[in-house]
């Protein structure tokens, strides 16, 4: 209980005094996660829309696999990415190991299935409503996808926020591929793991509270910009 209180106090002072180290770590966390999120959305949204509107062989299998991958263990993802980008791996020549880029790759792999699955549920429901109308209007496949994505934009925003939550709180994979190197790949979650290992629970908790505050602030900001939960809107 003392640690919790001390953690809260320390988090308060870290934020109020604008601790430069904290700011750097927090900004790196945001930069890595937002980049991963943007890439993941570019992959997941069209994938979800195509799965909603196109009928092809093994479609159900693809959807089932996508749903199953939502529970992809981050440590396994981290290991796979580590093997791929390590010096002796197929992508070793790119020199990605222990860089933020490797962390972004790992996060993208982790959050794409989550975003795509949630987005697919929403797009599938809208497609069920729109199917006859769009068919009767001779709308092309590309137009269908664009229409669904636009009309489901608030649901897609929710999917993206879920991906953001998973990404910003991720520790296992980015610890493995990032290495938690000070001023290079250290982010809030890996810093928390480090401080916990050192026995500095108050600082670890402080960083944890900052992380939670950051995640909540980003969610509120995006909800505000997206104008969700307004009367008469979807």
């Amino acid at each position: 209980m003392t640690d919790l209180w001390q953690g809260l106090v320390q988090a308060f002072w870290l934020v109020v005094t604008f601790d430069p180290e904290l700011a750097e770590i927090a900004l790196r966390s945001l930069r890595v996660t937002f980049t991963a999120l943007a890439i993941a959305c570019l992959i997941a949204f069209p994938l979800a829309a195509i799965l909603a509107v196109r009928r092809f062989r093994f479609r159900r299998v693809v959807i089932a696999i996508l749903n199953a991958l939502m529970g992809l263990p981050p440590v396994v993802v981290g290991l796979v990415v580590y093997v791929l980008v390590s010096r002796s791996g197929p992508l070793g020549a790119l020199g990605l190991l222990f860089t933020p880029k490797a962390m972004i790759i790992a996060q993208v792999i982790i959050i794409v299935p989550l975003i795509a699955s949630i987005a697919h549920q929403s797009l599938r429901d809208i497609w069920a409503e729109y199917h006859d109308l769009l068919i009767s209007m001779n709308v092309t496949q590309t137009q269908k996808v664009r229409t669904l994505m636009w009309d489901a934009r608030r649901a897609l925003l929710t999917a993206a926020l879920a991906g953001f939550g998973r990404g910003i709180g991720e520790v296992g994979a980015i610890m493995i591929v990032g290495g938690n190197i000070d001023q290079v790949t250290r982010v809030l979650t890996t810093a928390i793991a480090l401080e916990t290992g050192k026995g500095d629970f108050a600082l670890a908790l402080a960083l944890g509270f900052v992380l939670i505050g950051l995640a909540v602030s980003v969610n509120l900001m995006i909800h505000g910009l997206g104008q969700t939960e307004r009367e008469g809107r979807w």
Binding site: I126, E129, Y130, D132, L133, I135, S136, M137, N138, V139, T140, Q143, T147, W150, D151, A152, G232, R233, W234
Partner: protein, 238 residues
């Protein structure tokens, strides 16, 4: 309007879904003179036949031949569903949508949509989300959205089935205007009163087949079959 679509010839048209036979075989000739009403009890195949004619239900057997190329015919048609589909956007953007997907610039499409909304009495609701409109307003929106591309023919699937008398009267008045402006209308209904008010030509359907077809005066005055007579007398026809 000089029609490029008619005459319409339907020969042996049949369809089924999941192994269940829905409609057919249907033979039908339509010359596009006046409003055509598909009349019949629930489950008689009116909606399915409309969907077949429009091309949104798959023809399993037979043929449906318009006077022009099938693709040209399809682009000259629009469909109004019994339960209007409200896209998750404003009234204005719902009406403008068909023009936008056909390549019209968004601004021009919206300007055109304003005119159609006003003609339908939706001028004050342009910025509203379509989903919050009343049933009658939604059906007017669906009509405006169908008409904005200036189709030669509009299929209407029981457009007033869930509306009250006042909304029905308003929709029927719009249909009269649309018909007078030269657009061909093919409407399905099980409402005898509506059929009497609107029809120039009646196709009476029963058990997925065309049971009787002809000019409305003849059908209502002297129906040729016992089932049609029973239906006109308000008996339950199964």
């Amino acid at each position: 309007m000089v029609s490029g679509l008619f005459p319409l010839r339907v020969r042996g048209a049949e369809t089924s879904r999941n192994g269940v036979h829905l409609v057919g075989p249907v033979d039908l000739d339509l010359d596009g003179q006046g409003l055509c009403v598909l009349l019949g009890p629930n489950g008689s195949g009116k909606t399915t036949l409309l969907r077949l004619l429009h091309g949104i239900a798959r023809l399993r057997r037979g043929e449906i031949r318009w006077a022009c190329d099938a693709k040209v015919a399809r682009n000259a048609q629009a469909f109004v569903f019994q339960r209007p589909v409200m896209m998750r956007r404003s009234v204005l953007d719902n009406i403008a949508y068909p023009l936008v997907v056909r390549g019209t610039a968004r601004r021009a499409a919206r300007a055109e949509a304003v005119g159609w909304a006003e003609r339908m009495g939706l001028g004050d609701l342009l910025a509203c989300q379509a989903g919050v409109l009343s049933g009658g307003e939604q059906q007017k929106l669906a009509l405006a959205r169908a008409l904005i591309t200036r189709p030669e023919i509009v299929f209407l699937d029981e457009p007033t089935a869930s509306l009250d008398g006042r909304a029905t009267r308003e929709i029927e008045a719009i249909l009269h205007d649309v018909q007078a402006a030269g657009t061909h209308l093919i409407l399905s209904t099980h409402d005898l009163g509506q059929a009497r008010r609107l029809a120039a030509h009646v196709v009476f359907m029963l058990h997925g087949r065309v049971h009787e077809a002809g000019p409305a005066d003849r059908f209502f005055g002297a129906p040729a079959t016992a089932e049609a007579q029973a239906f006109l007398q308000g008996d339950i026809v199964e």
